[in-house]
């Protein structure tokens, strides 16, 4: 069985998140999502997420195709994850060469949401993510 692991912030869950989840889900038999802790989001983007970790995780647990939700933070070891998962994906490049960066093929058309999510998207862009 191909197990997939997808790490990301999933703040203000929107169609862009669903797109990324769908992309990774298609390539594995069972998908585990690693949700960034609030502290890790702040470290990556310079500010806390709008929605706290427990609520972001709870929503993801009810998204079709997501089998399990774990907390992902700076001490999460991608090397250990690579022992269990055949597909490793991330919304940013902190995993180095171990995980591929998955960018959403679409984003929300809501300008307010785009603005609220800009710090994280901007952090990813600075590191060369389209």
């Amino acid at each position: 069985m191909r197990q997939g692991y997808l790490a990301g912030s999933f703040d203000l869950l929107n169609v862009g998140d669903l797109d990324v989840i769908g992309q990774v889900r298609e390539r594995c038999d069972r998908l585990v999502v690693g949700v960034y802790s609030d502290g890790y989001v702040r470290k990556l983007s310079g500010r806390l997420p709008v929605v706290p970790l427990n609520e972001r995780a709870e929503l993801l647990r009810h998204v079709r195709g997501v089998a399990e939700v774990l907390t992902h933070n700076e001490s999460t070891d991608w090397h250990k994850l690579s022992d269990y998962f055949t597909v490793l994906a991330s919304q940013d490049d902190r995993a180095g060469d171990l995980a591929e960066i998955v960018a959403p093929a679409r984003q929300t058309s809501s300008r307010e949401l785009q603005a609220a999510l800009a710090p994280l998207a901007g952090a990813a862009l600075q590191r060369g993510v389209a």
């Binding site: 203000l12 869950l13 929107n14 169609v15 669903l18 709008v50 929605v51 609520e55 709870e58 929503l59 009810h62 998204v63 079709r64 929300t108 058309s109 809501s110 307010e112 949401l113 603005a115 609220a116």
Partner: protein
């Protein structure tokens, strides 16, 4: 639920910036019926009812709700007259926030629904506070 026919539940809402308060409503509704149909109110109707537009447009609000494992079917809700959507969907129970209980609009809804044999089921509805909070966080009134 009792009987052999599955009980179809209908829960209308804006589901704007889908959050934990919304999820709790769907969980509760899910537990009280066999098939859960979620109505997503149009941008126009929301503006008409609340004098403000949703943050997220209808098609995206529908997609987020449809992605949830609690939800069997998603339909667009075009009208405050719930008989309109009942004619299309044919539900047995309508779920509504308890801020409607014992109000003129709630009484009218119950009357309307009972004319087609539909029960109105109220439950605590805390989604408004979360939505207001999120709008404030985004700097939108």
């Amino acid at each position: 639920m009792s009987g052999s026919e599955p009980v179809v539940g209908y829960v209308p809402g804006a589901w704007d910036m889908f959050h934990i308060g919304h999820l709790n409503i769907l969980r509760r509704a899910r537990a009280l019926c066999d098939i859960l149909v979620v109505g997503v109110v149009t941008d126009e109707e929301l503006f008409h009812a609340k004098a403000k537009s949703p943050i997220v447009p209808l098609n995206e609000r529908k997609e987020v709700v449809a992605a949830l494992d609690l939800v069997d079917r998603v339909v667009t809700d075009y009208s405050t007259n719930k008989l309109d959507v009942w004619q299309r969907v044919g539900f047995d129970v309508l779920f509504k926030g308890d801020d409607w209980r014992a109000t003129p609009k709630g009484d009218k809804l119950e009357q309307q629904m009972s004319s087609v044999g539909v029960r109105v089921c109220y439950f605590p509805y805390t989604a408004h506070t979360s939505s207001t909070h999120l709008r404030a966080m985004l700097g939108v009134r």
